[in-house]
Amino acid sequence: MMPSFRSLAPVIAFAVVYAAVSLLVTNSYYQLVMTLVLVWAVFGLSWNLLSGYTGLISFGHAAFFGIGAYTTALGQIYFDLSPWLLIPIAAMLGGLAGLLVGFPTFRLQGHYFALAMLAYPLAILYVFEWLGFQEVTLPIKRDNPLAYMQFSDGRAYTLLALAMLIGTILLSQWIERSRFGMALLAIKQNEAAAEAAGINTLVWKLRAITLSGAIAGAIGAFYAIVLLVVTPQSVFGMLVSAQALTVAMFGGVGTVWGPVIGSVILIPLAETLNAEAGTRFPGIQGVIFGLAIICVILVAPEGLFWKVRDLVRKRRAIASPEPLSAPQISDRPREPATVLSALPNAPAKVGIPQDIALEVRGLSRSFGGLRAVQDVSFRLRRNSILGIIGPNGAGKTTLFNLMNGFLRPDAGEVLIDGHNTVGRKPHELCEAGIGRTFQIMRPFQRMSISDNVVVGAYVHARTATEAGKLASEAIARVGLSAIAHRMAGELTTKELRLMELARALAGQPRILLLDETLAGLGHGEADEVVAVIQQLAKQDVTIAIIEHTMQAMVRLVDSFLVLDHGAVLVEGEPETITRDTRVIEAYLGKKWAAHAQH
């Protein structure tokens, strides 16, 4: 994947300008500051790689940084190895540490994850202090300085750090564009939805933390070489983790330029204040970072980069307003028809061999004493639309979760083409052809419809081009082609629902599980979405849909499956179901059903 000139240009420009400025600096202290800015930028980028992209905030990245620092220090002291060799070794150890940390810790939720990550570097700190490494100094090599990365001119360090930064930026940019980045963003947005879209979330998170740890280890090693002194507090301490976090969050989370901006602003500020006022106000550095974090989280939680970009976009939108979307919307219902005519002839429903796309047999699941799903059995006929309905708490979403791999049933089978899929994880089922939408949507606000949809294409696509093609096709099938470039943050509820549908379609499912796709839509809008869903069934997709809005459902589905208290009440066609006494009873109460017979 060749990087475009647009993305390379700012990197090259930055590198050239920074190198030029650093060459002009003659004061050795300021040369050090120039180097440190880059060190923290790289560290921030490594933090960003895990926490910025996946949303799993790590408070313990100092663990990897410190491991890298000590690898270099001890490696040079005890084994007389050159940093040129030690930095790659530190990277490997950092990556390994990431993997070891990630494996158990990713199982934890929410604050437990944060607390565990906090604990690791602090625990290691105590161990290193106990081991007696209170202060480790790197020996000065006068006879062969270059082999040991000891330059007399501080600017050499800056240039070396710049090279590392450029490398990390390019790596991050590559990741952002690739399926790696897509997977991470999908995880950040909605981990369950990502799993259902075919993304093996654990594997991608482990990859992210391993890479993140490797980069942190490498830059930690470099840090030790620059400062020549390593203490447990200076590389494992809380301020170290906090700085990586602050620099990235202040500058902009989840973007390559965020940590760079944050570092360029905060580090010189902190260092200068430390130098000027450090004796009178020791610890001014920490105060600055503390204030920076607080300001960021209260005023611009996503960082400077995004805030500025949003402001600029708003100004541009005001200056040149886009044409109204309304006329385009009314065109849309016709689109599926035109697309349909372009596809090879889909066979008419009458005459299709009635084979079964999916069968559920005796599925049961309890939570504690509550039987959420009780012995449910039904069949999904190919290319049909089944509506799953029932009063509140009837177990409908639990049923989907069981079919989709999010929950393990206590008993029963889910058969696709005769194979029992119980026990397989959601992303595997997605590969097998089951697509799913969710009730609560959380799209990537700042990304276009195309980018939001392409995430779902990677389950079968092998290259980015193929993924893009599948995504465009899916977008066309739901009728959003005209606005495929528009950002998700600007869409209406109906457009968002169609986008969700498109993402599920991009994975080329044979079976679609739709969870309350019509929720929040007005009458007219619901009709439009219903039309799209009907087209899909004609195009060889089998659909099961959970919904409350009966008005739309009765015209959409071929048959209903009515659940009550987790068990199947009755199955049948809309006309019969809506007059069935048992169904009326379940919805309106026994008494009403009884006298309504008259």
């Binding site: 929040g520 008005q551 809309p574 919805y587 309106l588 009403w592 006298h595």
Partner: protein
């Protein structure tokens, strides 16, 4: 007493209520029925102040209710018995009732109220030291009702009291409600899944569907109307 006009409300991007107007006169028993997703719970949440409406007005005893903060509304005399009971599980039955009585009126009338509550709902008296979280669904529902009554309310709002309960227990609770209403001059606003029961005891009923009032009337007029069934089942 309570007047809702043109109320629209929802959650972030999703609109739920769309121009709902409902009137409850003092001393009346009003029932609201309708399918899931119609907005019944959202309506109650908006009256109680948890959800902010995007349009419309609510007046309570002539005062603009929307100008009053959520935690103040109980003190005006509005008691909300929430969907799913929502008792305080790690507090005892007695403590739950005491919390309910933390309004001015509640504190003033505590002595009489607690006697009457124990009379109407004896199981609460028996289990007053038990932790609410360990009680059965039916008992918790009674506690939730008792808690609401402890605030000495003018308006008692009940959100699906029969939900999750067996028909026998649901009937019992309903019975108690009717009894309570007979013996006091409480105004009641009830949301119910069981349409017949709700309309029978109520003076007036509203049918809510997809965020709008589609039918209203009393038990006589609504009983024979097939549109009620269609509101739930679509056809």
């Amino acid at each position: 007493m309570l007047s809702i006009e043109g109320l629209s409300a929802g959650y972030s991007a999703i609109p739920v209520l769309n121009g709902v107007s409902i009137k409850v006169e003092a001393g009346q028993f009003v029932a609201i029925v309708g399918p899931n997703g119609a907005g019944k719970t959202t309506l109650f949440k908006t009256i109680s102040g948890i959800v902010k409406p995007s349009a419309g007005a609510i007046t309570f005893e002539g005062k603009d209710l929307l100008a009053v903060g959520a935690s103040q509304r109980a003190h005006l005399g509005i008691a909300h018995v929430p969907e799913g009971r929502q008792v305080f599980p790690s507090l005892t039955v007695m403590e739950n009732l005491e919390i309910g009585a933390m309004t001015e009126a509640g504190r003033r009338d505590w002595k009489q109220n607690i006697e009457r509550i124990f009379e109407w709902l004896p199981v609460l008296a028996e289990r007053r030291a038990q932790f609410a979280g360990t009680m059965s669904g039916g008992q918790q529902q009674m506690l939730a009702v008792g808690r609401g009554l402890a605030s000495s309310p003018k308006l008692l709002m009940l959100d699906e009291p029969s939900m999750g309960l067996s028909p026998a227990i649901a009937d019992f609770i309903f019975e108690r409600l009717i009894e309570i209403r007979r013996q006091s001059d409480l105004t009641i606003l009830l949301v119910e899944q069981r349409v017949a029961e709700a309309l029978e005891s109520a003076d007036h009923g509203y049918v809510l569907e997809a965020g709008r009032v589609v039918l209203e009337g009393n038990n006589q007029t609504l009983r024979a109307d097939d549109r009620v069934r269609r509101a739930y089942l679509g056809m």
